[in-house]
């Protein structure tokens, strides 16, 4: 795992420790684990794939990975977590992330935010 990614996961999980904007805590999980249907909001963070690599001396010197942060919320405004996650991503790096999509699931009533970010090892 790249160190940058580990730091980002720690930062995102740290959001749940501090003062949250409402009484519900956000379980921020890595990879496939989620805690639906107990909570109003929950999030996942994962590395998706390798984007590019710079090779030298027959080994990979630098590797760029792309990952994504997902936020699911029953509240239209994301119960305040959107701003917190955006701030955490900006603290991590200013230019390496973007809001990839924002959509609504009619079956479950969940609002879904998806951020994509790139990290380097």
């Amino acid at each position: 795992m790249p160190d940058e990614y580990t730091a980002l996961v720690t930062a995102l999980k740290g959001l749940t420790q501090g003062e949250s904007p409402n009484t519900v805590k956000l379980p921020m999980a890595e990879d496939e684990w989620n805690t639906r249907p107990d909570t109003v909001s929950y999030g996942t963070v994962r590395l998706d794939f390798e984007v590019d690599a710079l090779h030298g001396d027959n080994v990979k010197q630098y590797t760029a990975y792309e990952g994504s942060v997902d936020l699911y919320s029953l509240k239209r405004d994301g119960a305040g977590w959107v701003a917190l996650i955006t701030a955490a991503l900006t603290d991590h790096c200013e230019g390496c992330w973007s809001l990839n999509s924002h959509q609504y699931e009619r079956e479950t009533g969940l609002f879904h935010w998806e951020w994509a970010f790139q990290v380097e090892e």
Partner: protein
């Protein structure tokens, strides 16, 4: 689903193209066609790499993978290059499933982009497999190289 690859820079080529006048847009479009082809090929191979499992209902917060039927719909849908748009300062196109139409799934008529979006972005009950994002991110360098190559070739024809 908007994943954009924007090619700018290439200062030498831009300077040469300024001399071409009306033909510049035509040459840019030819280069773009080659670059878009690279991306479309990547998308096609990424669609074939989607992992599936037999359909089941995801219960108790579990997640499911797309069923083979859903994958077959996305695979057989049109994911090609859209009509080129000349905006005056740039030439644009898109690769994707925007106009892929509708499909029959489980007795319902479902828009194909919706199925592709659920696989690509994931939902609260489906695994995320970002095939479009993977295709566009990894094809970026190859697409840019293809565009440069084609434009250089075409400019040489006019210089003779």
């Amino acid at each position: 689903m908007a994943f954009s690859i924007r090619v700018d820079g290439m200062n030498e080529l831009v300077q040469k193209m300024q001399k071409l006048g009306e033909n510049a847009a035509h040459i840019a479009a030819q280069g773009l066609y080659d670059g878009a082809g690279v991306v479309a090929d990547k998308v096609s191979s990424a669609v074939q790499g989607i992992a599936t499992e037999p359909f089941k209902y995801a219960k108790n917060g579990q997640k499911r993978k797309p069923s083979p039927e859903e994958k077959a719909i996305v695979m057989n849908a049109r994911h090609g290059i859209a009509r080129f748009r000349n905006t005056g300062v740039s030439v644009e196109t898109s690769v994707g499933l925007q106009n892929a139409g509708y499909a029959q799934l489980g007795g319902k008529t479902v828009p194909i982009p919706k199925i592709a979006n659920a696989i690509n972005s994931g939902t609260s009950f489906m695994d995320k497999q970002p095939f479009m994002r993977k295709a566009t991110s990894t094809a970026k360098a190859a697409a840019q190289a293809a565009i440069e190559k084609k434009i250089t070739e075409e400019i040489e024809k006019y210089e003779l």
